[in-house]
């Protein structure tokens, strides 16, 4: 088999497939705001393959870090290796607020059909069933970057009609002070940009209708069907624009993930073979 061949079933995990799908969202020369975990592996994979000139910002304050070893968190001192600037959160996010960030990679516990994402609380905010970690930099990055990719576990309770709490606003949000749902562009005006461009879940890759802001299924992961995925959403998922199956990882990509970026399996487990 050649390095460029697509891996055969059994040679890669679902996490590998998602990481490669996420890496595909990155273009060369872009400034990317990275979160911890799979997004960081995806971005560094892109950097080592098709996007060698991408620039990374880590929110604790680092610009264009080039760590050899994958940092374990965005506050990891390794984030500063090879960086062109080390500063603080105020500066890192100001670069984003000023408009210099192209892409943000984020996670979420719940998402609705307009891409509103919740990382704060399940249930009532003031009497929560489950309190989550909080906003962190999620809404900052989502409000400032040109586009945002969310990586999520796919369960019906997570792909919900109404998120318990909007941490990061999607394409249609509530207008102040009346509360009606209006488009984010209308709410923010020309000075604002960005918003979710894709959601990569454990079931497929989703994008958003340019006019309505509604989510549609773009590609389905191997072993899933569009109908099955529609059944895994509490809202009426648009499956009329499916472009096909999510492209599989190549052997080259798998080698970079598991031998170069994450050999100790901190983020992504290797395929266990008997």
């Amino acid at each position: 088999m050649s390095e460029k061949d697509f891996a055969k079933a059994g040679d890669f995990t679902l996490a590998d497939l998602m990481t490669v799908a996420a890496a595909r969202e990155v273009n060369d020369h872009e400034v990317v705001f990275a979160g911890t975990g799979m997004p960081m592996v995806a971005i560094m994979l892109a950097q080592k393959t098709h996007a060698p000139n991408l620039k990374l910002i880590f929110e604790a304050g680092t610009f264009d870090g080039r760590p050899d070893v994958l940092p374990t968190s965005v506050g990891d001192p390794r984030c500063e290796d090879g960086a062109s600037r080390a500063s603080g959160l105020v500066e890192a996010f100001s670069i984003a607020q000023r408009g210099y960030v192209d892409l943000g990679f984020l996670g979420g516990a719940e998402v609705d059909e307009y891409g509103n994402v919740n990382t704060t609380v399940i249930g009532d905010y003031l009497n929560p069933d489950l309190r989550l970690t909080g906003s962190g930099g999620n809404p900052d990055i989502n409000s400032f970057a040109k586009r945002t990719v969310f990586i999520m576990v796919h369960e019906p309770r997570r792909f919900t009609k109404n998120v318990s709490y909007i941490t990061s606003p999607g394409w249609r949000v509530k207008k102040w002070p009346s509360g009606e749902f209006i488009s984010r562009k209308e709410l923010y005006g020309g000075a604002y940009r960005g918003g979710p461009s894709a959601v990569i879940s454990t079931a497929g890759v989703f994008r958003f209708n340019e006019d309505t802001g509604r989510m549609y299924l773009d590609t389905y992961h191997p072993g899933k069907t569009p109908e099955e995925i529609k059944g895994m959403c509490q809202f009426d998922l648009d499956i009329s624009r499916v472009s096909g199956e999510t492209p599989l990882p190549t052997y080259d990509q798998l080698r970079i993930i598991h031998e170069v970026l994450d050999p100790e399996e901190i983020f992504l487990p290797k395929v266990k073979k008997a």
Binding site: T36, G75, P77, S87, L130, R131, T133, S135, G136, T167
Partner: protein, 352 residues
């Protein structure tokens, strides 16, 4: 005995948050400015011990600003001493944290008469890849502490506004998020562009705790690696307790004045304490002790899941109450572990 802890969250929930009259959760900008105006501004030797500094500046009902970011350059040594002294009715302000806030939360579970948190203004409380913060989840899901949610940038610019001596600051996010409904920021019409803009109130802690890479005896501090929000927190606070990995000669500070991230007037106490962020990391000095972080987290998780607080109590007996100083704690961790963590840092470049 958690029900002895003061918390108003259940009553608050019957109100619409925004109908509550606005109040700063700590000193107002004017109160804070008055304190700063009236304190001594001279260059003086501020070196002291954690015990003395904590006894002097830590008061019940205070707003405690915590520096660092999640688990990097976090002021753990100061937190240990604060727990030993005890403080009740605490308001915590920070952007993102794990160990420091979980240590305070655990102390509250072990002995709420000694340490209690009333509320926290923050962006994020968790352990990154290791997992959620079990004690935060316990305290919030049971309505024991009140939370005011902002973003990381939101909290950072709230400290920045305070550091600049202004009462609020505009920011281009929070809008469209439910934070707009529940936090103490406000959407207003910009007087110049006539467009919506969110404004957040300045955040002045009564006491800021920050660990620096190096400082002179006056409190001129250098930070290497990510600055986090430490310079802003030091400037925003009525008083700042600075631990430093090492004291350096003031001649060195004056040779490279551009490297001073925290100016001496913003610092009230300087304590030389190597490994002051342990088990967190400190760029240029040592890496995280993941095993110890996971161990402490597992005790909190066990309490959250089973209600058994005995393992937590044992941890505090062994590592906090059973130690007179932070050095005693480091003794228990052992030289070999600390040496290994220094090696793991791989000699990140710092200028001393």
């Amino acid at each position: 005995m958690l029900n002895t802890v003061s918390s108003k969250i259940k009553e608050v929930s019957k109100l619409k948050y925004k109908e509550k009259p606005f109040e700063y959760w700590g000193p107002t900008p004017d109160e804070s400015r008055k304190i700063v105006v009236n304190k001594s501004h001279g260059l003086r030797d501020k070196r002291t011990t954690l015990k003395e500094a904590v006894a002097k500046y830590v008061k019940n009902g205070m707003n405690l600003g915590i520096g660092g970011f999640v688990n990097t350059r976090v002021p753990v040594a100061a937190v240990h001493e604060i727990i030993r002294k005890g403080v009740t009715d605490l308001t915590i302000s920070m952007q993102s944290n794990s160990i420091c806030t979980e240590l305070l939360a655990g102390a509250m579970i072990v002995d709420p008469d000694r340490v209690s948190i009333k509320r926290v203004e923050m962006a994020w409380w968790g352990y990154e890849i290791i997992g959620i913060a079990p004690l935060f989840r316990y305290l919030t899901t049971n309505g024991i502490i009140e939370v005011d949610d902002y973003t990381n940038y939101g909290m950072s610019v709230r400290f920045k506004a305070a550091a600049m001596g202004i009462p609020f600051i505009p920011i281009r996010d929070h809008g469209g998020s439910d934070m707009e409904l529940v936090n103490r920021g406000k959407m207003i019409e910009c007087p110049f562009t006539k467009k919506n803009i969110y404004v957040v109130p300045a955040c002045h802690p009564d006491l800021g705790i920050v660990n620096a890479t190096a400082s002179d005896m006056y409190g001129n501090a250098r930070l290497f690696g990510a600055l986090c929000t430490c310079p802003e927190i030091a400037m925003a606070s009525n008083h700042t307790l600075l631990t430093t990995e090492q004291i350096i000669p003031t001649d060195s500070i004056r040779k490279y004045p551009n490297l001073t991230e925290i100016p001496y007037p913003a610092v009230d106490a300087v304590v030389e304490q190597p490994f002051a962020s342990y088990p967190g990391a400190c760029y240029g000095h040592y890496w995280f002790d993941m095993e110890h972080i996971k161990y402490f987290r597992s005790l909190g998780d066990e309490f959250r899941k089973t209600g058994n607080k005995e393992p937590l109590e044992k941890y505090y007996q062994e590592y906090v109450f059973g130690c007179e100083t932070f050095d005693d704690y480091l003794d228990k961790i052992g030289y070999k572990t600390l040496k290994h963590l220094r090696k793991m840092d791989e000699g990140q470049p710092i200028i001393i």
